[in-house]
């Protein structure tokens, strides 16, 4: 894991000096803000709420607005990681420093995960706002964020992989967006496929179902195992891909 920490720091730095990062973050927060506003407005008209169907549950589990932006945000966050280094040639000094490939890949990956988490951070304010006017179960909020983080971590790993495989940033962003969307669509298959293997599979990979569970405080370890797979597998492929450049 040599090189992990310096590369992690440099990636964070490089991200926050580019205007694109701030544009993506602002757009994301605008969408989430609108989303939250609509939810609150909806619930403001209701007289009483059931225990597991308040604004917090709805925010995390009942609308597409929460993770539709992820299909676009994650590819944008990750597209630069390797594609840009290869285009500009900076990958050469990077890999000829005494680092190892796993360190390089993980350093870069962890940096985008942190950026992703920072992007979500302001949304905690919504929960605080709800808490001021009603009761919020913070454990449920925590499990909601856990799911957001776990699903996002997987999408970011997919983006890291395509950035290492693609020749340009654009190609990296497009392929990872398609891969992520494909995975998301497969999950939606839970509502479409007839009962059988197809539906079980779709239910297993469904981000929608996972958000639905976690938003109600149901932390299902099977879901987390799946998320961990979606993180580990692409990262493994990334390490191999970066090593393979040397042998092309």
């Amino acid at each position: 894991m040599r090189g992990l920490f310096p590369i992690f720091k440099r990636e964070l730095f490089a991200h926050f000096v580019t205007p694109l990062a701030w544009v993506a973050m602002t757009a994301f927060l605008l969408i989430q803000g609108l989303h939250f506003f609509l939810i609150v407005q909806h619930f403001a008209g209701q007289l009483d709420l059931s225990a597991d169907a308040g604004p917090v549950q709805t925010y995390f589990g009942q609308t597409m607005m929460l993770y539709l932006p992820l299909l676009f945000v994650c590819p944008v966050l990750t597209m630069r990681l390797f594609a840009e280094e290869r285009r500009s040639g900076t990958i050469e000094p990077l890999l000829t420093a005494p680092v190892d490939t796993a360190g390089v890949v993980l350093g870069k990956y962890l940096a985008v995960v942190v950026i992703y988490a920072v992007m979500w951070l302001p949304t905690v304010l919504y929960m605080v706002l709800v808490g001021r006017y009603g009761a919020v179960d913070w454990n449920v909020v925590a499990s909601g964020y856990l799911a957001v983080l776990a699903i996002g971590a997987g999408y970011l790993a997919i983006g890291t992989m395509t950035s290492a495989l693609a020749r340009s940033q654009l190609a990296a962003a497009l392929t990872s967006a398609m891969a992520i969307m494909g995975l998301f669509m497969l999950g939606v298959g839970e509502f479409i496929f007839p009962e059988g293997v197809g539906r079980d599979l779709a239910g297993h990979v469904s981000a929608w179902a996972q958000m639905n569970d976690f938003s109600r405080g149901i932390v299902d370890s099977r879901r987390l195992v799946f998320d961990a797979t979606v993180v580990a597998l692409p990262l493994f492929v990334t390490v191999r891909a970066v090593d393979a450049w040397r042998l092309e």
């Binding site: 040599r2 090189g3 920490f5 310096p6 590369i7 720091k9 440099r10 730095f13 490089a14 000096v17 580019t18 500009s88 040639g89 900076t90 050469e92 000094p93 990077l94 890999l95 000829t96 420093a97 005494p98 680092v99 190892d100 040397r246 042998l247 092309e248």
Partner: protein, 376 residues
């Protein structure tokens, strides 16, 4: 200068068995044995063997597309070889990658950098990657900024720097953690004449403390900064040795301006041992003759010139002028790299032999030449 690693893992390579037993690494700084690299069907580097001893400044010469950058990238551990072996200060670049990389500073061609970082930030980042301790990082970065004459630019954003300064950032980066070996790929490419002179002076001063391997296709650069040169063409070694030895491979010439009869002149020159058959042209009443001198190198040639003058005096030709010229490095270079049907690798094998490397380079190159003839 060379530092011994604290704990060298035992290696099976028989070549270094002696070195390890005596507790001292006597391996050369760079050793390349039968290195080949192909991109698909195209062989970029073919059976290349050479070595570089510690303390030398070596020019790595070849026309564009000869495989210079590919070779340097393999030496620096960026590319993998198709076959063959590379060791840096005795450490295999594949099996002991980390130890080898710690001992070399590499500047890739065109010195790619992160444009959004400041010079000092970038070097600090690089120093951290190269395991320079936090407490020493600041002084180390300062030292390298100073050496590369970048101190004034330390707070500039790299994207705003001119090409010459970027190149220097690349050199400063290679110098971080003072590795015993520097590998610089075309350090003067794209610079203006003043910058070229400055970079050469810098390389000259670095040669006092580091072993330097620098690639170039500019010959005057090798003459200016290097004590030795390795010449490759089409991925094969065509010459290796000191600059003078390589230059000596070209035939020096004698040029005469003589008043008299052409037949007499031709006969007089024919009497001199080893002189090439002269080219004579008549300009007015004067004859201009050019002939190649015997031997390789100027010492043999000087004696032949004496004989030529004596011979001309004997037949009473009016000698107006005698000039000799050593073949320029350019001519030798053109000869070495232009033709590929000529058996390569004739030049002094002494450095190779001295390093204890297998003397297979000549044989391999010749074999390669034969293979190419077969193919054509």
């Amino acid at each position: 200068m060379r530092r011994r690693p604290p704990a060298a893992p035992p290696r099976s390579s028989p070549g270094f068995a002696f070195a390890r037993r005596s507790g001292k690494r006597i391996a050369p700084m760079i050793e390349v044995v039968h290195l080949s690299k192909s991109y698909g069907a195209i062989a970029a580097v073919h059976d290349l063997s050479f070595s570089v001893e510690a303390g030398q400044v070596v020019g790595f010469l070849g026309p564009n597309g000869a495989g210079k950058s590919t070779t340097l990238r393999i030496l620096a551990g960026f590319l993998g070889a198709s076959s063959g072996k590379v060791t840096i200060a005795g450490f295999d670049i594949v099996d002991e990658r980390h130890e080898a990389l710690k001992r070399l500073g590499y500047m890739p061609e065109t010195s790619p950098l992160y444009p959004e970082m400041k010079v000092r930030e970038y070097l600090s980042f690089r120093a951290e990657l190269k395991d320079v301790l936090r407490s020493k990082r600041r002084t180390e970065v300062g030292r390298c900024l100073e050496l590369a004459q970048l101190s004034d630019m330390a707070e500039m954003v790299i994207g705003h720097l001119s090409k010459g300064y970027r190149q220097r950032v690349g050199i400063a980066d290679a110098l971080l953690a003072s590795p015993p070996l520097l590998i610089l790929d075309e350090p003067t490419a794209g610079l203006d004449p003043n910058q070229i002179r400055e970079v050469r002076a810098l390389i000259g001063s670095l040669g006092e403390r580091h072993t330097v391997l620098l690639s170039t296709h500019i010959l005057s650069e090798v003459e200016a900064s290097c004590s030795r040169a390795i010449v490759i063409a089409k991925g094969r070694l065509v010459a290796e040795g000191s600059i003078d030895a390589i230059r000596g491979r070209g035939r020096p010439e004698v040029r005469l301006v003589v008043r008299g009869d052409e037949a007499v002149l031709r006969k007089a020159l024919g009497a001199v041992d080893g002189l090439g058959s002269p080219a004579i042209e008549t300009r007015g009443e004067l004859l201009h003759a050019t002939a190649t001198l015997p031997g390789e190198g100027l010492d043999d040639a000087d004696q032949a010139v004496e004989q030529v003058v004596a011979s001309l005096a004997k037949v009473k030709l009016g000698v107006r002028s005698v000039t000799t010229s050593a073949a320029s490095l350019e001519e030798v270079f053109a000869e070495l790299t232009g033709k590929d049907d000529r058996p390569p690798g004739r030049s002094s094998p002494a450095p190779v032999a001295a390093s204890g490397a297998p003397r297979g380079s000549d044989e391999g190159a010749r074999r390669a030449g034969a293979a190419e003839e077969d193919a054509s």
